[in-house]
Symmetry: C2
Subunit: 228 residues, 2 copies
């Protein structure tokens, strides 16, 4: 479930881009808070219970999400729901997709913002911890208007993976691509294209454990070199 807080979503290049990116995916609930007049607390809590991955998606306004997300947190996450002995969202994952009009380099000591986005987003990390959720590394999108086309294509994949990939390790990354290829093969219109995609998917499947092994070895070598 993607919970979006954005008062001007229709004219937002980032939001339109992200929405188009997930068009091929099923099982995504797109939930735009600013379009809701009065929050139905029970319905919102039911949505949270139904979904395994909750993603807060917003532009950074004054170092936080727009007010609609804070209103949602204050209203929906009641003490009765969140602290009543049980943790109804425990074990689920919380992700953050945040866009900024400021370049990435400014978010560090010595940069014009002086602090990292990890620090700025800490309150959401604490919300996740309080609810017993796993906090995903935020997906940050800086100044999308200046991106090259190939970088944007990578973002489509990164965003799709962010919403749907079970875990963020290399093996799961391969598994995700395999699943997507199988889906693509099923959707392919020409038998030839279908055959090609199926072949690719089978090759990926055959080599998966080998590739995962290789990835570990590369990492080990890098770490050893890094030490020297």
């Amino acid at each position: 479930m993607v919970i979006i807080s954005h008062p001007e979503i229709e004219t937002s290049m980032v939001q339109n881009f992200l929405k188009a990116s997930v068009a091929p995916l099923e099982d995504i609930t797109w939930h735009h808070l600013d379009a809701i007049d009065t929050l139905d607390v029970a319905a919102e809590q039911a949505l949270l219970r139904e979904h395994e991955r909750i993603v807060f998606q917003f532009p950074l306004y004054w170092y936080a999400a727009p007010a609609s997300l804070k209103a949602w947190l204050d209203t929906v996450l009641t003490g009765q729901f969140a602290f009543n002995g049980r943790q109804p969202l425990a074990g689920k994952t919380l992700g953050i997709v945040v866009s900024t009009g400021t370049a990435a380099k400014h978010f560090q000591a010595g940069g014009s913002e002086q602090v990292t986005l990890s620090e700025i987003l800490r309150p959401y990390e604490l919300v996740a911890r309080k609810l017993g959720m796993v906090y995903l590394p935020p997906l940050t999108i800086h100044q999308l208007g200046y991106w090259q086309e190939t970088d944007k294509q990578h973002l489509v994949i990164d965003y799709q993976r962010y919403l749907t990939q079970a875990q963020f390790n290399f093996d799961q990354k391969l598994a995700w691509f395999e699943t997507m290829l199988i889906k693509k093969a099923a959707e392919a219109t020409s038998p030839k294209a279908q055959q090609r995609i199926t072949l690719l998917s089978e090759q990926l499947s055959d080599k998966r454990s080998e590739l995962t092994d290789l990835n570990w070895q590369v990492q080990l070598i890098r770490e050893e070199e890094g030490e020297g």
Copy 2:
């Protein structure tokens, strides 16, 4: 100016206590955001321009102020106002008065909240910096319901000073008490009480530079001892 964000202010012990604490002070603008239906942006910006000290006062809900303060930030601090070449609030001070239902000891590494309130409140510090304002050390009030009467009396003074004392050093602290004593003397009903307060105020005035000197010496001794 005290900008209060609290959806249930009437029943809040902390807010009622703080409001009673400043009753004797003049020149305090009490501004409760949740009581405002539609923000008048120009009027809010004019209020900001008029006041030298802006204080955000709120209970901590989900690691931030309630939604009404975020809505106020998003609406009132427009790009035109805040980033238009000039910094209309530069040099003014921004204070935070925050109450929590959690004991102070939990806000540290290893505590149940794991992070400090300084970190949790970082977004407001960044707002102050962006506006060129001086950020005051937050005044934090943990679990007021459990406080002793004498601690509450200290809080009255600390809060009055937080809203009105020019700078937070020892000399300014004495100057603040002197001013308050002169005011109290003027308000005293019996001539005897008036005489006593005036005497106290004069003694404080006479000894002020001596006391400031003494305070420095004590600090130096403490630092030297601390090193050993």
